[in-house]
Symmetry: C2
Subunit: 332 residues, 2 copies
Amino acid sequence: MGEFDLIAHYFQRPARRAALGIGDDCALLTPTPGHQLAISSDMLVSGRHFFADVDPNALGHKSLAVNLSDLAACGARPVAFTLALSLPHANESWLAPFSQGLLALADAFDCELIGGDTTQGPLNICITVFGEVPVAQGCSLALLRSGARAGDDLYVSGTLGDARLALDALLGKITLPAEILAVARQRLEMPTPRVALGVALRGVASAAIDVSDGLLGDLGHILKMSGVGATVQVGKATQLIATDPLFTWSREQFDAQTLASYRRTLALAGGDDYELLFTAAPDQRAAVAAAAQASQTPVTRIGQIDAASGLRLLDAQGQPVENTFVSFDHFG
Amino acid sequence: MGEFDLIAHYFQRPARRAALGIGDDCALLTPTPGHQLAISSDMLVSGRHFFADVDPNALGHKSLAVNLSDLAACGARPVAFTLALSLPHANESWLAPFSQGLLALADAFDCELIGGDTTQGPLNICITVFGEVPVAQGCSLALLRSGARAGDDLYVSGTLGDARLALDALLGKITLPAEILAVARQRLEMPTPRVALGVALRGVASAAIDVSDGLLGDLGHILKMSGVGATVQVGKATQLIATDPLFTWSREQFDAQTLASYRRTLALAGGDDYELLFTAAPDQRAAVAAAAQASQTPVTRIGQIDAASGLRLLDAQGQPVENTFVSFDHFG
């Protein structure tokens, strides 16, 4: 099967929102009047962002999910995406489940595949995603990294650290009971982009980012872009590890102090969480709660923004915790 | 140097057209009212689309040029692009010239780098480019592959086959004098996207495509999408090989018949030409000439569109030429 047949068979569907789907030199997209386009690109590389033997259906899901998560962090509604794919072989047994996982998530978010490229080479998945954000009275309603102000509350959505827990188990660094690995692995391989929450936080949150490299690392981007500092309640973050209540298994592998340190690493620097980390003024607490409820997404207040630069970590007793957590750097 | 420093150092510049440049979760782009967005993605892989030891400056140029060529084929004016880059190492001696070549072409076409991604992995360059096409009275002025009609003239811009000639020489298939290789190699490594011609052909051409996989292969896409056939004057195409007058070198390598066949392969199935192949009604000949002059781009009429399906090749004497030319398939 040649390149063009391959594309047509697995990815071509009737064009909906786009004036032209796959098959011309360009896709044509008509933006909704009064809206800005939010655009993000992510490239996923075998051995770096996923295991070479990962379930292709899950990989299709995750490839788009990490891009939708960027739209969520801007409060943008997904519209469309392009897919560029480098594959060692035009392997149908891989392409069929990959395209199923990808297009199932695309359909769930009404995000249309409008174009792309396919070539032979080491496995590489590059998706560029397009969303829309309304512009009201000349002002964009997009959530930015730069809007955090001293006194703002700091929130994170959903759960933290489970993806990293699964990764560590798959890398053989720890041993997990099968039923706990299954829960954690779901978070690693099938993350849920927080699109509904991002849209609901327009006009409510002062700044937002998605947690992809680890909570503290991504918080650092908000602090830098906003010119502020922050205090994080470490205990509130570690309580967000979904598999935490199941941690009895860990007693055989860790002493108490090592376990406490490992839990902090999972929550604060785990990475691959794809939750929203955001700030909002204290007078917006009811609005934040309403946005969480409207989007059916749990949200937890884990700290606050400070005028003083730098990052302060406090334990449950209000004592400082040393920040030894290093965020993931794709060239680290 | 970490990932974020790397991006900032070589690629970050003050945002111009975009509301947000590199450094937030998404770039924000405000489309011009009354315009559609034309979007195209191309992925370039080391060893497949370029030699691993290619001059990084030329590679930066070509990576964007092939994308701008897709915009040209739609008659779209370039606006912005994203760059996703997978690199084995964060190598400054490669990144500096690559970014220079890339951004020089971007500046020449007023096309702003608005976002992207950088990761470690096998060298892979994925660019998604955005252009604008006006919509007049509810009708897009974009050039499509599907608009060719029986009786239309068939045109190609610029020159053909020189990129393939250089490729064959670099692969050791033929031997070229240094001064001829230099001319041909320029066409292979530094193609000129025909953006001005594409824009000038809005409302004039009935269908268009850019020649990337070889003239006959790309013509096949127009014919299929338009439901028509075509007749191509082979001699008119082979006369477009820029280095053809220099072919005296070839007498040592080819007999006359082999040379004639090789020249046809170069022109009809060379690939990597990045010229525009387009159709226009015969009553548009003056308009086509005016578009060529306005864009300072030579244009040659090489055939016509037929109602009968299929492709007919004729030599200078009007005799049929057998079509043994296979276009480049990225999984071929």
